[in-house]
Symmetry: C2
Subunit: 200 residues, 2 copies
């Protein structure tokens, strides 16, 4: 038996410091048919970053034109730069039965969910503990106590947003967390509502 299905947008968010990036990378490495979404940004590339691999680097005019045309599924201004995800490649992936992983902030996650209520699956990553989170936030370079305090308050706010998500993963033991994330992806691939066609 063969089943054709729609593609799925896996949207993964976490308070900063929860260790989401490693988790996403490992899951993508171990699974077939799962690609990272590449964001658009107006910030200049850092050394080693490649256009089309790390980001699509565009100027502000191009970016804002995309926003005006309604082409962005989600976007935000972070400090002085714009970041966003265009709709077109997501729609194309859904149609083609390909799955996309979006490693994205919490605001972005709810915009994607609103734009793709059926096809987006949201996953929230919890840090192992509040102490671990506090530690990670303060270890990010030699920052002033005020900066660390602000970061912590932001993380606390973000933590309170988990009820907006469909799934949670606790990033306590890394291997277990990866397996949980993979289980969520595999399970969503086996939802009857995504079946487009069954072939016998």
């Amino acid at each position: 038996m063969k089943i054709k299905r729609k593609g799925i947008l896996f949207v993964i968010s976490a308070p900063s410091g929860a260790g989401k990036t490693t988790l996403c990378r490992e899951a993508a490495n171990r699974l077939d048919n799962l690609e990272f979404s590449i964001s658009y940004t107006t910030r200049p590339p850092r050394p080693g970053e490649e256009n089309g691999r790390d980001y699509h680097f565009v100027d502000e005019e191009t970016f804002l034109e995309m926003v005006e045309k309604g082409e962005m599924a989600e976007w935000a201004r972070v400090y002085n730069h714009l970041y966003g995800t265009p709709k077109a490649p997501l729609l194309k992936a859904i149609e083609a039965g390909k799955d996309i992983l979006l490693d994205i902030d919490i605001q972005g996650a709810s915009q994607i969910k609103a734009a793709f209520p059926e096809d987006a699956v949201t996953i929230f990553v919890f840090p192992p503990s509040l102490e671990a989170l506090r530690e990670r936030l303060s270890k990010r370079g030699a920052d002033a106590p005020q900066v660390i305090k602000e970061r912590w308050e932001k993380a606390e706010e973000e933590m309170a947003m988990y009820p907006l998500f469909r799934y949670f993963v606790v990033n306590d033991r890394l291997e277990e967390a990866i397996e949980d994330l993979i289980a969520v992806i595999k399970a969503e691939r086996h939802r009857v509502e995504r079946i487009k066609e069954t072939q016998w």
Copy 2:
């Protein structure tokens, strides 16, 4: 971080001959906190069957009294005997955060889903192919062609019911099917809506 959650009822159905029983047994063996639901029946025990392990064996009067009192979450008459699942142990398991596996027919599955719309997760098992199904149905002893034909028609009818279920598993390669079933169970355990309490 510790999370307390509600228990889940995993309701697994398949057309007869799809190979569901092995699948269920393996999943239950490999996972913690997952117990088989034990049905009530009015049919007499077969040699080797144990009351309270294979079934709860009761007389028809006791069974029908349970039905009248609304104590059965699902029940059916199959040929001359009654089979059913009482509500009370299911409610208790949900409350206690324990998961239950119900290996049950398609009618029963939709009754359970109706009785526990939030806490029941329905899974449909597809046979690997129509030929494999046909083969399995005809190999069950030396039956008359008419009996095999009826069995096949019933299986076809049952197969058409899959859109009523939330998940599907294709029982093609056994190991893969077991892993898919386990992924569904793990993923449902990580749904945010089942969180009762988070402890830090």
